[in-house]
Amino acid sequence: MNPIFSMVLRRLALSGVILLLVAGIVFIGTEVLPGDALEATIPQDERIYYTDEDFDRMRAELGLDRPPLVRFGEMFVNLVTFDFGTTILTREPVIGYIWHPIINSLLMASIAVIVTPLVAIALGAVAALKPGGRRDGIISGVTLFSYSMPDFVVANIFIIVFALQLGLAPAILLIPETAPAWQILSVSVLPVMALIVSGVAYQFRLLRAGMQETLRSEFIERARLSGVPEWRLVLVHALPVALVPMLNGTAQFVAGIVSGVVVIEAVFKFPGIGLELIRAISQREVPTVQAITFLAAFAVIAGNLLADIAVLALDPRARRMTHDK
């Protein structure tokens, strides 16, 4: 267990480094490039209402007159301690804006994150039992199709079919963001389904590629020539190896779910962090945008870390390869 423990520690340290770089990217993206947070907050056409002195005074108040490196250090420390500061114009704490939406979105996203791989694995196993067969062809075709569908289109199709035609669910969610969890979950069925569609397609395609490669390998041939039944070949011998590419794609998968959450919340008017992000961006509320972006990256990195640990558990060979994947 000891080498595994040290590898996990190593990955953890690496995640810290990446988080630092992410903070840097967020900082550069929102504050440094064209001007600073203040200029980003106040659009060009409103600047005529402010004098240069106003700007200088506000900069000093916000600490924006300090050198970028100092501000970056402060921002990084604040972000990793989950202290998101206050908004620039109204001076309200950012956490107050994002707390409930985050909880709501987490409720929805965590169902998708758990269900999606299970569906992908089930489809992958069914397709792998007869590679090149009819079921394989249909599943692959349908996933390639759904992989190509924009998620806001999928969500709207769900509304048209399930809400308008079948009347099974409300089309637009009229629910306060402080609603209790059970209420949020009860209206999350369509959004979660829409979220899963493209996620399943992505994961299934990676799993299928892994399966195809694994089923061609010599150890599968040996097991088959030893009379091991087909279902054991697929589930016991091949699956753990075939899962590795899918798990390596976890960062992309979680990132896709986060992007999906934003879009799908906009379609259903789901009171989550996605709607909050859109609001913050359109109102140019830089600290809120920074906080949400950072948290999104945090989720991606955490998901990836878990997947790395899963790979270590599945593939004993990976425990020896201390080098980069």
């Binding site: 040996r222 030893s226 009379g227 190896v241």
Partner: protein, 544 residues
């Protein structure tokens, strides 16, 4: 006449290509073997020998199919078995030992679980009885410390142990037919001998029929009584091994037998050494080096040094001579070649060439120095850029070192191709359109295009079939002689080394065991290790 145990008749195995055409992997094969007999199937890559062997278990690789013919084992029509019957048959009555033991074991399952799975499938034994069977098999196949080994993963045990595990797995159902597909190719000579011994014993014990597939006639000779020779999907001839050896019926079999590398201590001299020309000087190239690979490091730092790959290797090569270096995998022989060539760097000690010190990295050597030291690599496919045509590959050294124009370089290339007995039309092809032998000749041409003085050959024939190997070696001998080249020739195969070298050095685990004149070393080795290596070959050659 007894009824044959294996009876194949009129068997065609075909596979369809990407472009929709059907290709025959095996064509109209017929075979009869009695119970308890040993049959060797010999052939070169692409001859269909592995396909034929797999068909004995009713198996065709994905994409391939049995187009016609029958395969019978005893009174069972193998190709007509239903899926359940086939599962019981495979691993029960007929077992297969595949080529590469590492990639043939499921990487994420401990050895014990993989064996237990097969015991459950093919016997009625459960729990402690099953465990007893596994322990017995491990003992029988010479696997030490069974309890520890059972908990290990395949990558945690040695190559020889893996092959024993695979053999043990094959024997679980006490099969009446054992098919072995090049089971020792991935093993070192000394380990190979032990594994072959084991297989022979077990076959007798079970009175099983044995089918042994190999490209290596020496191994077949040691293991089998009967032989079938395959080429291009067809069985050219079959019969008693002694008969085929003494009176081969086809020209191809003759060539195959002639091509077997043999250790002939009194054999003909390789390209005579121009000992009295002005060029000749003792210690034309010398090395005196130690070397360690770095272990993988942390995020931004280099790791610590690994165990030494080479320890204080002091060698000298005389002008115009071929120094052969022989050693098993892990001996450091390829590292040594890389150091002299300048593509592996970071050694301690010094390398000199023609009286001048050679920098570690090729990039730090003078252009002329780089030209004078050239190398031919082990894997011909990997050594030729797949995105380039042969013309581009051969023209580059001429342009780089001699400033030749494209047209001039092309003319030079045609002359070079002639030297290695290839036609000029090959210039317009890319490497992947060539056979292994052709690829290796092109790689030789590329090295010769620089008009080198020292030619390093690293296992240049180990990826080639025996008949091709024989031709490439003949070619190399001729060119070495004609051009008066100095050669550093590296191989794991003593017979190959013996054929081309004036002097031979033996490397083991990064240490120089001994060095001496070829005949002296092969006739009277001074170290146990060299004797063991020689024995490995003698075992191959069999007692005829």
């Amino acid at each position: 006449m007894m009824t044959p145990h294996i009876h194949i008749s009129g068997l065609d195995v075909t596979y369809s290509t990407d472009l929709g055409t059907e290709v025959h992997a095996v064509r109209d094969a017929g075979l009869q073997v009695l119970r308890g007999e040993t049959l060797g199937i010999v052939g070169e890559s692409g001859s269909g020998k592995s396909t034929l062997a797999r068909s004995l278990l009713g198996y065709a690789r994905p994409g391939a199919r049995f187009a016609k013919g029958t395969v019978r084992l005893g009174d069972t029509d193998v190709l007509r078995l239903d899926p359940a019957g086939l599962r019981a048959f495979r691993g029960g009555r007929a077992a297969m030992v595949p080529q590469n033991p590492l990639s043939s074991l499921t990487p994420h399952m401990p050895i014990g679980r993989q064996l237990a799975e097969l015991v459950r499938l093919h016997t009625d034994l459960r729990d402690s009885a099953a465990k007893k069977r596994i322990l017995w098999l491990m003992d029988r196949t010479g696997l030490p410390e069974p309890d520890k080994l059972l908990a290990r993963y395949p990558h945690e045990i040695s190559g020889g142990q893996r092959q024993r595990v695979v053999i043990a797995a094959a024997l679980i159902g006490r099969p009446e037919l054992i098919v072995l597909d090049e089971p020792t190719t991935a093993l070192d000579k000394t380990v190979e001998a032990e594994v072959l011994q084991l297989v022979a014993e077990l076959q007798k014990e079970l009175n099983a029929t044995l089918v042994y597939v190999s490209h290596d006639l020496n191994v077949i000779r040691a293991m089998c009584r009967k032989i079938a020779v395959m080429k291009d999907g067809k069985i050219l001839e079959q019969g008693l091994l002694s008969r085929v050896y003494s009176r081969p019926a086809t020209a191809y079999t003759q060539e195959l037998i002639r091509a077997i590398p043999r250790i002939e201590p009194q054999g003909p001299k390789p390209g005579s050494r121009p000992a009295h020309t002005a060029l000749a000087s003792a210690g034309f190239a010398t090395t005196s080096v130690s070397f360690s690979y770095h272990r993988p490091g942390g995020l931004f730092r280099r790791g610590p040094d690994g165990p030494p790959a080479l320890q204080d290797i002091t060698l000298d090569i005389n002008a115009g001579e071929t120094l052969g270096i022989v050693g098993e995998s892990g001996s450091g022989k390829s590292t040594l070649a890389g150091l002299v060539a300048g593509i592996v760097s970071g050694h301690s000690g010094r390398i000199t060439f023609d009286g001048q010190p050679l920098a570690g990295k090729a990039a730090n050597r003078s252009k002329d120095m780089r030209r004078r030291v050239q190398m031919v690599f082990q894997d011909p496919l990997s050594s030729l850029n797949p995105a380039q045509k042969v013309n581009e590959i051969l023209a580059r050294p001429r342009q780089l070192y001699f400033g030749r124009s494209a047209a001039e370089a092309r003319a030079d290339s045609i002359a070079l191709l002639k030297e290695v007995e290839l036609e000029p039309d090959i210039l317009n092809r890319s490497a992947r359109q060539l056979s292994g032998g052709q690829q290796q000749r092109i790689a030789m041409c590329r090295a010769l295009a620089a008009e080198p003085e020292l030619l390093i050959c690293d296992e240049v024939t180990s990826a080639l079939d025996v008949t091709i190997q024989a031709r490439v070696l003949d070619l190399l001998l001729r060119i070495q002689k004609e051009r008066g080249l100095t050669c550093l020739f590296i191989s794991h195969d003593l017979a190959v080394i013996g054929k081309v070298s004036h002097r031979v050095a033996v490397l083991q685990m990064g240490r120089l065991q001994e060095i001496g004149q070829r005949d002296a070393l092969l006739n009277a080795p001074t170290t146990d290790y060299t004797r063991k290596l020689l024995q490995g070959h003698r075992h191959d050659a069999g007692a005829t």
